[in-house]
Symmetry: C2
Subunit: 322 residues, 2 copies
């Protein structure tokens, strides 16, 4: 069997639970993919051996030899030394100074690129997604926390040292919310999906008459980030307050990013972005009203990410430039 | 007369009131300088003719011909198109789309570089000053407003579009302070010298028993940014509250910049930086406690600017790389 493409890229999305491995073509479309369990309690050498051998097998099964593979991109959680291909620290997979690129090249003797997963997702949206063709883009992922990535001149901006580009950890409100980073009132404590869910739980518990309480089936365990949006759409006062508050905090963070980087677009990822225009329409109005310079300056559009479940593989593969 | 240097650079600091013109050597030391009145009500062509002819005269008087001039750097207030050498908009000098580089090259037929004055000040501290030798640095000027500049890989980062790198216009407190930019609660509304002076005036007016009121000679007209620092140093409760509050807001803004850019150093300029260690010591403590990643990450030092009154000329000249 021989693959249809003359050249391909391997994208590897390293996660705490599973490792997704995909082959993409020169327009970053996924043409084959598989997944293995991370099983992070193993020595890292075993995890990487498994990763490498699975990738080689996937290539072979689809008719590609290593000579056709332009390179391998790996997206990793945690703090990454991209220059030396090393995972400096990852809480998710309990790795500390793991020489991932060196290890992986034993099985995949091709150029190997490593970066943080949020940075990969940002670049993935630039090469194929909501920011396609943009030279400058910001990416915010609204999940358990708020992660971010910045693309400048088509390349990932990594900050001067590890600890930079932590867009979820800029000052936002002043309610005294303790952040996981140790500081108070970071954007993450107001604009993550977790923050929205926690706020919605408090509100629902206090308002058993609300549609919010109805929509979570009278159980706080059923609360998720979609419920307050649904309640607000249904005209529920509690839902409206929650969403208005959430969007105002998120907008403030986005405007900060606009006033600092003034990118072409600001892409939102994570589960909350399934809200689409319910999320982006009010945010874009906030930006038009509040960005520095108003209409005299360039006002970036806020859009939702397009790569969805493929974001991990496409983002990792995007590290290998065609 | 012949100058001692084989090559020189001209740095021009364009201000609303005056234009400072200096000759610097290859280590950005000022070897001669002069100043002319901007007289901005004139057509811009006349202002630039005056600027250009004065620079040529200054060179000649000091024994330099144009062949020895590596280039001219101009720092301008307002929004600047550095690529095309154009002042897009400046409120201070009432300029709108002025082709400064083209006009100036009529009198100074050498490479001409233009940038925003805050960006120039930032780069000036990198080539000769508090951030000398740093590849990545942030600069905040605490004056009437809060201006900023970012240096990445030794070069000015300008953002994707005009309206970017407005470091004074990121969210800070939540007292509902209206900012000049139209938004509420920007860093500038808490951390500018103006904000400190206004806060000190309010406090002094409410506390005639305070040292703060004593130190401004029982007249709010005498209030300046130094008085509350002096009052705090003297143990005055009002002064201490003011400075603690001021430093906390400023620190939050600086930590945001650290968490986003993670530069080598963060340089503070403007009149407030005359406070030296009174300003930087508590700020550095805040950073150590609150930067993302704590001691595991790199914690940038906060330092005060060193170029003082020469910042305008050195900053402008720094646009011309030796």
């Amino acid at each position: 069997m021989t693959g249809k493409e003359s050249k391909v890229i391997v994208g590897i999305d390293l996660g705490g639970t599973s490792i997704k491995i995909g082959i993409v073509n020169m327009t970053y479309e996924i043409i084959a993919q598989t997944s293995i369990s991370t099983n992070a309690v193993r020595p890292y050498e075993e995890v990487i051996e498994d990763m490498g051998k699975t990738a080689v097998k996937l290539l072979a099964e689809n008719g590609y030899d290593l000579g056709q593979c332009l390179g391998v991109g790996v997206g990793s959680p945690g703090t990454v030394d991209s220059e030396n291909g090393m995972v400096l620290y990852s809480n998710n997979i309990c790795w500390d100074h793991v020489p991932l690129a060196d290890e992986l090249s034993k099985y995949l003797p091709v150029p190997i690129y490593l970066n943080n997963d949020a940075n990969c997702a940002a670049l993935g949206e630039v090469v194929k997604g909501a920011a396609k063709g943009c030279q400058n883009a910001a990416f915010l992922t609204l999940g358990t926390g708020v992660g971010g990535g910045i693309i400048i001149n088509g390349k990932i901006f990594e900050g001067g040292y590890p600890g930079g580009v932590e867009l979820g950890h800029i000052t936002n409100g002043s309610e005294g919310r303790k952040c996981t980073c140790g500081r108070y009132d970071c954007l993450e404590t107001y604009a993550s999906a977790t923050a929205l869910i926690n706020d919605a739980k408090s509100m629902a518990a206090q308002h058993p008459e609300s549609e919010l309480w109805e929509l979570c089936g009278h159980s706080l365990d059923n609360m998720n980030a979609k419920v307050p949006f649904d309640a607000a759409q249904a005209g529920d006062a509690c839902g409206k307050i929650l969403i208005e508050n959430y969007l105002r905090h998120l907008a403030d963070g986005i405007i900060d990013i606009a006033n600092i980087f003034r990118p072409d677009v600001i892409v939102l990822g994570g589960g909350v972005c399934a809200q689409g225009a319910n999320l982006t329409d009010p945010l874009n109005s906030y930006l038009e009203e509040n960005c520095f310079g108003g209409s005299v300056s360039y006002i970036p559009r806020v859009v939702t990410a397009q790569n969805g479940n493929d974001a991990g593989i496409i983002g990792a593969a995007s590290l290998v430039q065609v």
